[in-house]
């Protein structure tokens, strides 16, 4: 790698890059929780489908730990303009009109299997990773906001003004659309999303894991107690499921 022939740099760079990728496999020195980290140089695969389960019975009334954790993790500082500031996760309060029963639950991008945002995006900037995480590639997002029109869950925000001091793991900028990334930078590192970690400190209402793995905690729980989809009638098979609604 060190000795370089200067004549054909472009080809060399490409091959050399691939070789280097194969060569380095630094084990991430991170605390592993529910999931194992894949090697850095391995592409994500559809053997895994990341998902979340939210037990609304345990969700604390008035607790916004998950929201705060998300904002901190992803650097979502607002401009005190609630109508245009980004919100990747929010707490909903539901009141049953018949019974008067009130409950709260967090809602974020549901990482739909057949995601409407992905279907409508003209440039392919909205896309679903092999492992089911739905993201916006801000390099090619043109800010048309069609995905926001299409998302049934109001999960997306448009960045309405210039930003500064973004987190280096969560780049975001004016004129593009964004939403919950399931903390993909953490997931790739074998960690839980920030909201799940925060929730686990007290209420323990959120679970994260591989829906394809029958032995993961989330799959076992879903099997035993079931889990509802919001707007199941739309047939989107979201990766985020709820219990107790």
């Amino acid at each position: 790698m060190k000795t370089v022939n200067t004549t054909d740099t472009s080809k060399r760079k490409f091959l050399g890059g691939a070789a280097a990728v194969a060569g380095i496999a630094i084990a991430p020195g991170v605390l592993l929780q529910t999931v194992n980290a894949k090697p850095d140089n391995e592409a994500v695969s559809n053997k895994v489908r990341w998902g979340m389960l939210i037990d609304t019975n345990k969700c604390g009334d008035g607790c916004t730990d998950c929201v705060t954790a998300c904002n901190t993790e992803n650097g979502l500082t607002g401009f005190e303009r609630p109508e245009t500031d980004s919100q990747w996760i929010r707490k909903l309060t539901l009141k049953d009109k018949q019974t008067g029963h009130v409950q709260t639950l967090p809602v974020m991008c549901q990482h739909c299997e057949t995601a409407p945002c992905v279907d409508v995006c003209p440039t392919g900037a909205s896309f679903k990773r092999e492992d089911g995480i739905v993201l916006v590639d801000k390099h090619i997002c043109i800010g048309c906001r069609y995905c926001m029109m299409a998302c049934p869950y109001k999960a997306r925000s448009f960045v309405h003004e210039d930003l500064q001091d973004q987190k280096d793991h969560a780049p975001r900028g004016k004129g593009t659309v964004e939403s919950c990334t399931m903390c993909v930078h953490k997931v790739d590192n074998g960690e839980n999303p920030a909201c799940v970690t925060a929730c686990n400190k007290e209420h323990k209402a959120m679970y994260f894991g591989d829906l394809n793995d029958a032995n993961s905690e989330i799959s076992k729980r879903l099997k035993q107690y079931g889990g509802k989809q919001i707007r199941a009638d739309l047939g989107l098979n979201p990766g985020v499921r709820y219990q107790g609604v």
Binding site: S10, D40, A43, F127, D137, H139, Q166, D168, P171, D188
Partner: protein
Amino acid sequence: MVLWFRKNLQNIMLAAIAMLLATSVNVNAEVVAPVVPKGKGEQCVEPTDVMRKNHMEMLKHQRDETMHNGIRTKKHALKECIACHVQEDEKGQVARFGDDGHFCSSCHNYAGVNVDCFQCHADRPQELIGKGHKIKPHHTADFKDKAINKEALQALTEVSK
């Protein structure tokens, strides 16, 4: 007025071209190499001439791999470039993108090539955030008024023998 304009259109165009040529000659006359700040490490991940020529390709390749396939190798990652190349100076100041003292803009200002990476990406290592002046709001990519000129680009991408 309109008629006069039409009749003289050719002359006007010629005059404009002449003016343009004159200015570009001026720029060419004062070719000064950009001052590129030193990085933290000893040696870059690729030889300097390769980086000069191809850094954009590598960054772009890595960006797509990371974004779409979750490849998180560090070698060609923008984050790592920044971590090494953007440092505090003796006064504890950190240059921001757009300043001549910022690694990326030292060249990009010089060559007059605008990039929009730093509208989204952090322009300094995470631990230095909070240091350095605020970028003027709405002017994140405020680069100097220099026309691109061929010699400068050649000088930059010339393979060092």
